[in-house]
């Protein structure tokens, strides 16, 4: 028997394949395609205290081997999530990770507390994932995740307030992601997710306008995989806490690149759009690869990269 279960902080995952926030809705959208019990963890769409409308359309544009999205963090708000979506998710024997964000430290803290309280009251949320790729309204709209100071403040504040495992999702739009991960670790993060989307733009040359109503969007999909793998590798060298790798994972082989580079788990995003069963197929593929390679425990694989 091959062991592919992994631990992230206090979470036990049946397999290392999670869904990436914003690409799997609140779980139910894909429940017709995927047995949610077979996922390592379900990470839901990013939540904020109040519901959020997001950006005008077009919000999506395809680019070579990738896509830009500018959803603008549309979500139903934490209350609606807890009341309308969480009961469905509680049916499954799979950890639920609530991705959340705010536009000030205070909002982050309040969102985290609300999620922790809901979990304390009736369970169903097993960890928090902080999306820090949002601008800080109070500090001149500097993105939390690109400024080490701001990041330290917000992670420290949330860490203090939250009693669930805390995953910090790093922005790739930085000079030194290893350093940012270190800051997150020192501020109390239990794990880091690497990477969020890379900011990009597409231009409609006839109309002389950005294709996306929001001008720029986040690049995801196979195009960014080499960048994501490199960043995961850098982060794994920089921190001791577990790293969740993501960015362009379409197949089990892609996921294995991240695991070998040091990720303890992976998240599958854009791939779910092109293949709604991608998550479970990737988990199966990892198991198959291990059998082929004569490995019995996934921990033999994690971080096994022999680099020079």
């Amino acid at each position: 028997m091959v062991n592919i279960s992994v631990d992230i902080a206090s979470l036990k995952l049946k397999n290392p394949v999670m869904t990436a926030s914003g690409t799997f809705g609140y779980g139910e959208e894909y429940s017709e395609f995927v047995d949610l019990n077979r996922l390592g963890a379900i990470v839901v769409k990013g939540l904020s205290l109040l519901p959020k409308e997001g950006n005008p359309t077009p919000r999506i544009v395809e680019t070579p081997a990738g896509m830009l999205n500018a959803i603008g963090l549309q979500n139903i708000g934490i209350k609606a999530f807890i009341n309308e979506k969480l009961p469905f998710l509680r049916q499954f024997d799979t950890p639920v990770i609530a991705n959340f964000f705010g536009d000030s430290i205070d909002e982050y803290v309040r969102a985290a507390v609300e999620l922790c309280n809901a979990s304390a009251a009736s369970g169903g949320i097993h960890a928090l994932e902080m999306n820090i790729s949002c601008p800080n309204k109070q500090a001149g709209w500097i993105v939390f995740g690109t400024d080490p100071k701001t990041m330290e403040q917000v992670v420290t504040a949330v860490r203090k307030a939250a009693n669930l495992p805390l995953i910090v999702k790093l922005s790739p739009n930085v000079t030194d992601i290893g350093f940012m991960a270190k800051v997150a670790e020192n501020s109390g993060a239990d794990a880091v997710s690497v990477i969020n989307t890379i900011t990009g733009m597409a231009v409609d040359i006839r109309r002389r306008r950005p294709v996306l109503a929001n001008n720029t969007g986040g690049l995801s999909g196979p195009a960014i995989r080499p960048i994501a793998v490199r960043m995961v590798w850098e982060v794994c060298k920089a921190v001791k806490i577990p790293v969740i790798g993501m960015g362009g994972i379409m197949t089990a082989n892609d996921a294995l690149e991240f695991l070998i580079a040091g990720a303890r788990a992976v998240a599958v995003g854009t791939a779910s759009f092109t293949n709604p069963q991608a998550t479970v197929e990737i988990a199966e593929g990892i198991e198959r690869f291990m059998a082929e390679e004569g490995l019995s425990d996934i921990n033999e694989l994690i971080g096994s990269l022999k680099s020079i």
Binding site: T23, E29, T57, P58, P222, F273, N275
Partner: protein, 307 residues
Amino acid sequence: MYRYFKAAVTGNSPVNRFFKLLSIYFPGEIITPEPGQFYMLQTGHTYDPLLKRPFSVFSHECSNAKDSNESSVTSNELKTKDKDLSLSSESSLQFLYRVRGKGTLGLAQMKAGDSIQVIGPMGNGYPAPEGDFIAVAGGIGIASLLPFLEKHRNRAYLFYGAQSREELVMLEKAGNAARETFITTDDGSEGRKGLITDVVKEFLNNSEKGSDKLSVISDKLKDKDSSLDSSLITHHSSLPLYACGPAPMLKALAEVVKGRGVKCYASLEEHMACGVGACLGCVVKTHSGQKRVCKEGPVFDIGEIAW
């Protein structure tokens, strides 16, 4: 019952120089699609193009394989290959499409025998009409409306606009399914020159005024009495409308029907990534909040849209 399956391309032939018809076959049970629903189709076998693209179901056939003896070569081949699939019935689907960019270009290159991943049927189709109705098709919008016309044969007053005569694809089929067909082209190469929504407006105005004179070149494709039955005239102005076409057409139509107290359903388009309601890429603003075109749509009450 699969909503995500790998089908075989059985045909992909040009209809004219703008349009092609893709036929696919799946040797298993699928969910019966309703007119107005759509499928997300794979358009290549690499990561470029990456995302599936949405296409309205143009036609479908499902037959119970156990009862039928006429199984084509392809179906037999697939049966032996995919032994573990439920073979209680087999299904064929057709899609009418126009080549626009790299996705449809990829689709156009598919050949019989190729495999194609398919998600669907997705979204909500057109609500059933109680009696007669008005259908407004702009260009390739006919792909979505034609199965609806055929399901409700001889009940539609079809208004069909396109850029040119050649772009009035499937005109004869559509005309045959409709009670009456009114045509416009942007260049005047067929029907009246102008916008189809202007003709719809005229039609509604005249019928409100109780006049049956519609100064429109009405294509009598079928041998039908073309002077409208007087008793029906006022009825016309209260018929429900069903529309599919480019956003500017739908927007104009929303203006036309505003305040007339008629039901008008429109099938909307938006860039889609997932097609299943997960990515929130395809939202449209409505008077009751944001809706996903792929999930709550693509057919909406046109009066609900906050243009």
